[in-house]
Subunit: 647 residues, 2 copies
């Protein structure tokens, strides 16, 4: 009958799908928790968050306070890179209720002799539970409440703040009720939320046309990448590349003898997912590259692509892990009528699935052992969701600092599901969003709805697969626009190398690069005229200098009169940093727009003089009043600025 608690705790926030999945935060955050707490009658309630990091058996406790309209709130610190569990308890504070009522009775001049007896009994029961000095204090208080003094003096003693504190420690928690779910928050390291990524093909980092670059060459590139201010260097697969049905230049069905093939056709006689393509160097060379990046404050991210070329060792050793035709031959990948004969997909539901899954897990563990802590996962939406949940939870338990970025360009609910199930970061539709309403709607969805509790949207300006018409047609100004947007709209963004050189030539009629690096080795002049490396470096320096840009969920859009000018800003919760950004979305012409400054949010009065500082130009702006006009040109399509009251 009394299976349900007397106090109802509901509408708990944050929580994800009623606790089926953890929400995500980063080390150093404070988790604010909210709940509706409801009990019959008029007694005084008390409530607390119960929480514990993974591995601790005892709950810690953080107090909650009534906010308004039966809504309560509290907070606890997220100090470690681990998973925390939290829930809520509420109880009737019998002593506080008694004390409040006693006050009212005394004020109304009522006889309170019987009430003082009741209070003394409450205090006596607490004394029986108390330890040390508290017990003696409580016994003394009980004696006084029940004692011979005048009722007024005893009632005054009942209201003593010290007594209330000791009672809070020892009094029984009447009607103690626990929320019926234990919720979880995965606390990642800060790089899960704040990082600028640089994607490059190691084989294209050499200096000799037609010859593969090596990890040695990659090390030589690091100073340049560091100078641009990137945090993560991401490499497409570095494993031996299949020979059977190898693709040639521009995705040709037949490769020329010297074509290197796509790094995503993994595996040949020299090894599979745990091997290094010999032309890049050795595993030890790779380790030196990882170390060289770390020495410069950067880290290396690897690609994790679960698919095999027909020459992969797994095909020989475990044909049962693949799909087979009635005649026993192994099926290549297909999306009928399209055929991908250079790729064999794995059958995750094979009878031997457990061995397969463990082997796939061991690949990640192998590269973790080589010092890799970040993985960009190729096409996760074509592998079973429960596989990812299992794999990421296994890795997280042993290596909570590992980051998984989901490269899923697919239907929105699948992208969200992957994030819910565990992926640390997610590719987004950013590349396809170019107009003001598109960018406003999409970034609002990513950062201002519940999606932000579990999905960290990563804004890549381009990828080896995606070169949008905006970049194909807009030239250098378009590249500046897109990288300024990416670097300031999200705390996570990236470019694929070549972007800094404004490479924008596509295969006719598609949104993809001509002479795609996926199928050939490139040698570039990294200091070619017209490059925007200094511009990118400036953007990354501003991101590092401003905490507001390092946060994800703090994006706000503001009105700009021109439909081709996007105006937005980010502010820290503490209000100690704020950055405002106006970007022209028109690469071909100058735009002028009034900007409606969010002076109120910045604590600046409508008529108060302020000082506007241009962070890209490093100069004061001659603005006055709440609606200054800005002129954005193809050469300087973005303005990033701070506002402060004049001292």
């Amino acid at each position: 009958m009394k299976e349900w608690p007397r106090i109802l705790i509901e509408a708990v926030y944050p929580k994800l799908d009623d606790g089926r999945y953890p929400i995500k935060r980063e080390v150093g955050d404070t988790l604010e928790v909210w709940a509706d707490i409801i009990r019959d009658g008029h007694d005084v309630l008390a409530a607390a968050i119960k929480y514990r990091p993974r591995g601790e058996a005892e709950w810690r406790e953080a107090p909650m306070r009534h906010f308004d309209n039966d809504r309560w709130t509290g907070a606890f610190p997220l100090e470690a890179n681990t998973r925390y569990t939290y829930t809520i308890e509420a109880w009737t504070d019998a002593f506080a209720s008694w004390q409040r009522d006693l006050d009212k009775r005394v004020t109304a001049g009522q006889d309170v002799a019987s009430e003082l007896e009741e209070g003394a009994a409450l205090v006596r029961r607490a004394a029986a539970r108390a330890g040390g000095a508290d017990r003696a204090d409580l016994e003394a208080a009980a004696a006084r409440l029940a004692g011979g003094e005048a009722a007024e003096a005893r009632a005054r003693a009942a209201g003593d703040a010290g007594l209330a504190r000791v009672m809070a420690r020892w009094a029984e928690r009447a009607d103690l009720s626990r929320y019926d779910r234990e919720l979880e928050v995965v606390v990642d390291r800060p790089a899960a939320r704040f990082a600028a990524w640089y994607e490059m093909f190691p084989r294209s980092q050499g200096r000799v046309p037609g010859r593969s670059g090596t990890f040695e060459d990659c090390i030589a590139r690091l100073d340049d990448i560091q100078a641009m201010g990137f945090d993560v260097v991401y490499l497409p697969p570095i494993h031996p590349i299949g020979r059977t049905h190898r693709k040639g230049r521009n995705n040709a069905l037949v490769a020329a003898p010297d074509d290197p093939g796509s790094p995503w056709a993994i595996g040949n006689e020299q090894g599979g997912h745990k091997a290094v393509e010999p032309s890049l160097g050795t595993l030890a060379d790779f380790g030196r590259f990882v170390e060289a990046a770390r020495a410069r404050g950067m880290e290396v991210a690897l690609d994790y692509a679960i698919q095999c070329s027909p020459d992969h060792p797994y095909v020989r050793e475990h044909p049962e892990w693949f799909y087979q035709r009635p005649d026993g031959s192994i099926k290549y990948a297909e999306n009928p009528p399209k055929k991908y004969e250079d790729i064999y997909p794995l059958n995750f539901a094979t009878a031997d699935w457990e061995a397969l899954w463990r082997e796939l897990l061991s690949i990640v563990e192998f590269w973790i052992a080589q010092g890799v802590r970040t993985f960009r996962v190729d096409n996760p939406h074509t592998k079973p969701l429960p596989f990812w949940r299992w794999l990421i939870e296994e890795i997280e338990a042993a290596h909570p600092d590992v980051i998984f970025l989901a490269e899923a360009f697919t239907r929105p609910k699948m992208m969200r599901a992957l994030a819910k199930l565990g992926f640390t970061q997610s590719y987004t539709y950013f590349t396809w969003r170019t107009t003001k309403p598109e960018l406003t709607d999409y970034l609002t969805e990513l950062t201002q709805t519940d999606v932000r509790e579990y999905m960290r949207g990563h804004l890549f300006t381009n990828t080896p697969d995606i070169l949008m018409p905006f970049l194909q047609e807009g030239g250098r100004p378009a590249f500046k626009i897109r990288v300024a947007l990416a670097a300031t709209l999200s705390s996570l963004y990236g470019i694929y190398s070549g972007f800094e050189l404004c490479e924008g030539v596509a295969r006719p009629g598609v949104e993809e690069y001509i002479d795609n690096e996926k199928y050939e080795i490139k040698v570039r002049d990294w200091d070619a005229p017209g490059n925007i490396k200094a511009y990118i470096g400036r953007l990354n320096a501003i991101r590092r200098a401003h905490r507001a840009l390092q946060q994800y969920e703090n994006l706000a859009f503001y009105p700009a009169d021109d439909p081709a000018v996007l105006f937005y800003g980010k502010m820290t919760k503490e209000g100690d940093d704020a950055v405002l950004v106006a970007v022209s979305l028109e690469p071909g012409a100058a735009r002028e727009s009034a900007l409606h400054l969010p002076l109120d949010a910045l604590g600046i009065g409508p008529d108060q003089p302020y000082r506007a500082w241009d962070l890209l130009g490093d100069r004061a702006l001659p603005w006055q009043g709440p609606v200054p006009r800005v002129r954005l040109t193809p050469e300087e399509p973005a303005i990033i600025f701070t506002l402060a009251t004049r001292g």
Copy 2:
């Protein structure tokens, strides 16, 4: 490892707090169910609602179809007055996937010999599971797919619709995934949603001043109440009334010898909650009254007020059920510094709570045995929430036709919690909502948000405790306004007797009647001049004639230019009935307003002639065009009308 299903089923709608509580519907409804269903890859999915009424062990099944963007929907009929359980299953339709891919391959001119072999194997496996004629059909189909005909002919055979149907019956449901909650819907009888209530004190139904009316007198009133069109006659407590600290007229602390006392001070030496106050008659007389109401198509609702006068038999028999002072005496009700010395509250958490709860349950069962099926519950928010959940579930399991109306005028979240936990209907803040924005916002919240899934808002125009200034000051037009609003804004509404006589005199300075019937016997002239009985009768007749007004969740507000004119309408889902209502909120003067007719929603073109019919006046309206003007007067403050295209 594979503890999670391959197919993700989420965002299920409707559901309440993730299935902690049932949603509510009524017999004859169809429950539409929605869900996001997501699987990796490109295979064809299938899904079904699994559902069963209480007491059935086997699931029934209703198919779901893909709607859009990974959202699926289906529906099942709610045929019985009981509780249904429902959940969702989804699986990979291997045969449909195979067939779709085969089509594409054939269209592309590919060799499909191997694929036909695979299809034959699928059909053969289904045949092994099939019974009767289906097995033979499937074996024949498998033989043909694997047979000697040309590939094109075999591929055509694979696409046979009959084969697809038989395969759907027998094929294995690959990757079968079940939603991880079983949800519930309480299906009440239609009166839970649609009823007009009339509240009256039986002791005031007599004809002799100073002498208590009887159930006989109540029977004599029924024709009058029936003529007004009410469905439910609700009686305040009919039990013996306490003598100790009995309240006198106008809530006087000391009663005169002939004062009858408040019916809510329940119990004296003649009995408690299972007894009838002798001056009203006997239990048999009450039974005759219930029967007489039923014979007129009405039902009787009783008050269920869990509190005892000091003279209640429970006080003698079970002092342990009450709160006791340190000296052993029993505590009366208090809300310090206020004292309610004529009432003893029960201690629901007493050591003997199980016996107490069972006794309280037995009170409801006692009156059910007397033919009562509807209970208005007094102040449920001062009793524990888990008590209500238990009591209502116990009653519902044995008597699913019983209706509980929660009389909780308290904080909004408590009111919602009571509804979630099981109350069939809920009193609302309607009496306090008098302006256009107040009514629009509040009725939108009640009928157009998730609240409608579990809370059926009952709009009482007045109660023995609530006489609002609008009625005190507005006279007869105000009464017409409020009853017209109540009767058309919600499918559930009620009046407290005297309302039809436009009784509006309050004790000075409070929102309560002078000479309150709670403390004295009244004898009224039910046909006093100025009464609005015919008006109420007309309203109830319109409600009975129009299905649109019998539904709850179909309210929509439309623009009226005048801020004192509220314009709204209700339409059936099927579109076969629609009623529009414009009400002046100004009792003191005539108002004129343009009404922006929702012609589009009614299927009437913007320039199409229509026929507007005034349901209160029973006459055609001479309107033309989409924005007619209406004049509402103190005498006719509301217009209720239908619109139809001219034939």
